[in-house]
């Protein structure tokens, strides 16, 4: 039946993000037919790079996409969100710079290999995640409130790590992570996202992380009686998010080769949570679709890029985003959907009646 197929499609979790993506694409296409043009050019250093709006979206949506992976797990397991990711990106990034530059904020050469700095950042990110996770899982504090602590303190801690100085990484190689590797025209971030997504896919396929997380998110008590350790699963979700934060921090810091404690990754927690919601995942936990969240992340970046294209000031961006978000959430709210479909039925009935009377 046609109707049931339509229903199946509209009920699918991917429906909202895909529709939003299509809508944005169509709007852009109508306004500017050249929107999707991707050109191969060279950058300042003379290396081949792809450029175009699509590439921008893929590139700058990376941090969000990576965070969306972890945020989805945290949301599913704990029924709440981590609002400290922006601040912990600052912490992890600051720690990375501290390792790379040592105590001198403007060194001539790297003080430690990049990989060491990255591993330290991972450790720091996971520690932050563990802190949040412990508050949520062991002390049973609501996630939003528990993470409010690092949200408040994070940027201060980040500044404190480097004594409020702004170290500059001397090695141009460090900048590759946030831009292009010479000779490869595709942004490096795209590969980083790909690696993260593949790892996550493998983890979900070869472990029970997905099943356990959902079970804990839906019914913690009964999960426990089935031998699952809900405390650990929630804790684990936050630690995984901490790892995602470290990767995002690598990209963020690499883009600038330095850090601005109060501005880096500002408001990214809101975007990450939106990505999860746009992906059709319930923010109160339970069942999830991680890929829908990733798609949601790119939809948000798509929106941001589109708005920039329409010459919207970066500060005013939020207002437009808000309107779009409200419209999206409004029309995907079960209540509105129900009454809309009820309206549709009524119209169909009226039409049928008209047909009869004729």
């Amino acid at each position: 039946m046609n109707m049931s197929l339509l229903k199946k499609i509209t009920r699918n979790q991917m429906f909202i993000p895909v529709m939003a993506l299509l809508l944005l694409a169509v709007v852009n296409l109508v306004v500017d037919p050249g929107f999707f043009k991707v050109t191969l050019g060279t950058n300042n250093a003379g290396n081949p790079v792809l450029s175009g709006y699509l590439i921008t979206i893929l590139d700058y949506g990376s941090e969000l996409a990576i965070l969306a992976l972890g945020m989805t797990l945290v949301t599913a397991a704990s029924g709440g969100q981590d609002i400290s990711v922006g601040a912990t990106i600052a912490i992890a990034g600051s720690a990375m710079l501290r390792i790379l530059c040592g105590s001198n904020s403007h060194p001539d050469a790297l003080q430690a290999p990049i990989i060491v700095a990255f591993l330290v950042a991972c450790l720091v990110g996971m520690l932050c995640g563990a802190f949040n996770g412990a508050l949520v899982s062991v002390f049973k504090i609501q996630p939003m409130i528990a993470t409010l602590i690092l949200f408040t303190a994070g940027r201060s801690i980040a500044a404190w790590i480097n004594n409020n100085e702004l170290p500059i990484v001397p090695d141009p190689k460090f900048a590759y992570f946030g831009s292009f590797i010479p000779g490869i025209p595709i942004p490096t971030t795209v590969f980083i996202v790909l690696i993260c997504v593949i790892i996550m896919a493998l983890v979900l396929k070869f472990t029970n992380l997905g099943l356990y997380t959902q079970a804990v998110g839906i019914n913690e008590k009964s999960s426990r009686l089935n031998g699952i350790n809900p405390t650990f699963i929630k804790f684990l979700a936050f630690v995984i998010l901490g790892l995602c934060v470290a990767v995002a921090a690598l990209i963020k810091v690499s883009r600038l080769s330095t850090i601005n404690y109060s501005v880096i990754a500002k408001d990214i927690e809101m975007d990450a949570i939106l990505a999860v919601a746009l992906g059709g995942n319930s923010l109160s936990g339970g069942k999830f679709n991680i890929w829908a969240s990733v798609l949601g992340a790119y939809v948000i970046q798509f929106l941001t890029t589109t708005l920039y294209k329409f010459n919207v000031q970066s500060d005013a961006l939020a207002a437009y985003k808000a309107v779009v978000v409200i419209l999206l959430v409004f029309f995907s709210a079960p209540k509105v959907r129900e009454s809309l479909s009820g309206l549709g039925k009524k119209i169909a009935v009226m039409k049928a009646r008209k047909g009869e009377s004729k």
Binding site: F139, T152, A153, N164, Q313, D315, A322, V323, A333
Partner: protein
């Protein structure tokens, strides 16, 4: 008849709300007395306390609104944005359009109510999660502030400047400066507004059906419905009140700083939430008290003052101490509630 004995002891008899609030008040008093004893000079003068009030009148008002939403089981993170938007709109109206004070107050209240009504409608009647709704509200308010006017500026409107510099002297609380000159203690108009609001809303929550309905809905939505409480209207009204408070708080903030800027009140929503929690409101709803929230704000700002007068002046210390304090209070809440549950089981 085997009459189950009532479990005695203050710890078990007192309600969650009063218990958490009592803890807050005790800790605040200890902190303030400690500051007087160990930090000396500054804290001895009553004006120090009044300055804390002056600087935080707006926060008190918004935090009180926030508490009501949180007691009902929701959250509103748009309040900081609304405060900024109110300041900017009033500033533009007074300065660029040379408007009058009365209308500017109406503008502030109107903006606050508009946010409250729209958000309340979406939360209560369309059933969208309050976090998402107010997140969008925050984005919208912040964005609109920039759209109204990008650059920050001071308001020069004469009648406004006069109102802003009005000081209300507090009798017998003044102190003598080094030259032996008597300096009267004072508070700003905003403080009176804030205290009036605290009293009114305290009475509303304690003695009106609507007030009790907030608690009922926060305690258990389904039960409240079955008990005959209009859950949707209650939720809606909690957001309307919170919006209204953000509007009034915005004007008080504006009156204190006297300027419009897009960066005004940044992070205020988090301070309001933190104050509510420190004051004993639980985000899970149903537990909280307006008086507690007042002490929450006072505790939060006292610790900031202690930190800065202790010479730890670097900007990051404020953030870290607030966070540490929040952390401690959250742990206390968590442990206290768990202990009570355990005691009940026995």
């Amino acid at each position: 008849m085997n009459k189950t004995k009532l479990k005695g002891g203050f710890f078990n008899r007192v309600s969650d709300t009063n218990l958490l609030m009592t803890i807050t008040i005790v800790i605040f008093l200890m902190m303030y007395i400690g500051a007087i004893v160990f930090q000396g000079s500054g804290f001895k003068k009553p004006q120090m306390f009044f300055n804390i009030l002056n600087a935080n009148a707006a926060l008190i008002i918004t935090a009180v609104g926030m508490s009501i939403v949180m007691i009902t089981g929701g959250i509103d993170i748009s309040v900081g944005g609304v405060v900024a938007l109110v300041s900017m709109c009033c500033a533009v109206y007074l300065d660029k359009a040379n408007g009058n004070i009365f209308v500017s107050i109406l503008i502030a209240i109107g903006i606050g109510l508009a946010f409250g009504i729209v958000q309340g409608f979406l939360v209560a009647y369309v059933d969208i999660q309050p976090f998402i709704v107010s997140l969008a509200g925050m984005f919208f308010a912040r964005g609109m502030t920039t759209i109204v006017n990008t650059a920050p500026f001071n308001v020069q409107n004469k009648s406004f400047v006069k109102l802003k510099s009005t000081r209300i002297t507090v009798p017998k609380m003044g102190s003598y400066n080094k030259k032996g000159l008597y300096i009267p203690a004072y508070v700003e108009i905003g403080v009176l507004v804030a205290l009036a609001i605290v009293v009114i809303l305290f009475l509303v929550l304690r003695y009106t059906k609507l007030g009790r309905a907030f608690y009922a809905v926060g305690g258990n939505k389904q039960s409240a419905l079955m008990l005959g409480v209009n859950v949707k209207r209650t939720k809606f009204l909690s957001h309307v009140i919170c919006g209204l408070m953000a509007g009034i708080g915005g004007y008080v903030y504006f009156l204190h700083v006297g300027s419009g800027a897009a960066s005004h009140a940044s992070g205020m929503e988090m301070n309001a939430i933190a104050s509510s929690i420190i004051g004993g409101t639980m985000l899970s709803g149903g537990v909280g008290n307006i008086a507690g929230t007042l002490f929450g704000v006072l505790s939060l700002s006292t610790i900031q003052n202690i930190v800065s007068s202790a010479g730890l002046d670097q900007a990051w210390w404020t953030g870290i101490t607030i966070a540490a304090m929040l952390c401690i209070f959250l742990l206390i809440q968590s442990i206290v509630i768990r202990q009570r549950k355990r005691a009940l089981k026995r």
